[in-house]
């Protein structure tokens, strides 16, 4: 195993312990006097109606899907970006072709009106 990732692992452990410590101290010293009114859901003093589930625009999901595709694309582009300085010109064009194919997808979604807010 490379030392860099061992270091990140140690950092992760410390990074979890440090935020937990004040919460534990707080758990020890803070008062604990729960009552139903204190624990009720906060809605600016008005009593809650129904459960906490709210309908949200399902259209967001399209944005999330487009995002997913572009996220995967950019992951492919990172090794390409590192390599192009050392490689001949046509490799740059291959990467550009890769991007343009996906831009076609973005244009399609745009033309279909999927990027409009309705």
């Amino acid at each position: 195993m490379q030392n860099a990732w061992l270091y990140i692992g140690l950092f992760l452990i410390i990074g979890i312990i440090v935020p937990v410590a004040p919460l534990l101290i707080s758990w020890l010293v803070a008062p604990k006097k729960p009552n139903p009114i204190k624990q009720s859901t906060y809605e600016c003093g008005i009593e809650t109606v129904g459960d906490s589930w709210v309908q949200f625009k399902a259209q967001y999901y399209i944005f999330a899907l487009v995002f997913l595709v572009f996220d995967v694309e950019t992951v492919f582009l990172f090794p390409w970006a590192l390599a192009i300085n050392k490689l001949p010109l046509y490799t740059v064009l291959e990467g550009i072709l890769f991007i343009l194919i996906l831009v076609a997808g973005l244009v399609y979604a745009w033309r279909k009106g999927m990027l409009e807010w309705m």
Partner: protein, 397 residues
Amino acid sequence: MTFWSDPVNFIAAWLRGILAGWGMGAALANILLALSGIIVLVVFALVLDIFLVWVERKVVARFQDRLGPNRIGPFGIFQPFADIIKLIIKEDITPEGADKVVYNIAPVLAATAVILLWAILPLASTIYGVDLNVALLYLVATGALGALAIIMGGWASNNKYALLGAFRMVAIMVSYEVPMVVALLIPAVITGTMSVKGITEFQSGVWIVILSPLAAVIFIISAIAELGRAPFDLNEAESEIVAGFNIEYTGMKFGWFYASELLHSFTFGGFIAVLFFGGYNFFGLEKYPLLGVVIFLAKALFFYWVIMWVKYSMPRIRIDHMLAFSWKFLTPLSLALLIITAVVDKFLAPTNFYMLGMFLTNVVIAWLTIEILRAYGKRQRKAEETPVQPVAEAAHH
């Protein structure tokens, strides 16, 4: 090797000698030293975080023509310590119907995601946690963990407003991660490395902001969105959904959300400095690492101040505008910039016109963008001037 040229390794070698004198194995000693280094770094970050609370409150007060905290200590500098004591001794309320485990993990995860960023932040040429060769993607990965924390907190609170905040956080993250990652690709294309230390070393000559000012602007905008700060603070919009995802949190758990937001902003200020504004480089002063740390922190604080400046000057952006701004403007612009940067970089890299060519390319792209926007705006205004027919009614369906 002296203390002034390489303080971390100097102290490490000294401690290693002491540990070896106690008869400790080399591997164990190395792990112990790494651990103590990490603890020093994390404690430094958190102490900085405490003062950031004060900085934030003082700066917003000046923006709003107030004095800000001024009672405890000189200029109220000890105010955050009083705040922390208060947060710790407050009763911790878990709302009825909340998902207890997820509810409690969320603030810890939010803080951890930010602290993890400090592992790769190069404070000076010889003072840094680790030189990761995939640092740029690591930056994106920790951002994903932070967004996950906000979603978990918003969902677990069993509150309508908190859930709305979580939904909006997804919408922001989904929209602004693409331009941010593409803006990150541009330093990678220019320097040919993904390690932030390598990118900083490249900038000992010329800062990347000169080679690609547009990438810097895109990165700053999408970083502000990713941080969820105004004008993109839809996830906690006080005037619409009260406090969004952290509405039900009290005491130290709220404290961690607040602290991690501030530290996240400062850390991103640091990354803006590292990626585009030379990091610890400043006219050769970086030869002394301790001075390098000061330079780095000053630059990070400056960009933290820029983020605050934007926050306290802008009204909150509407959600449809937010999505359109990302998908119809920033994403196409950043992809076009990436394509043109790659080509220009390939052609000009060996020549003497590299710096000038890159800069002029960016200027031309910016000018073209403005022209396109102007033409579009003109067309929109013309369309509005012509009387609207009842056709608009039918277009709804």
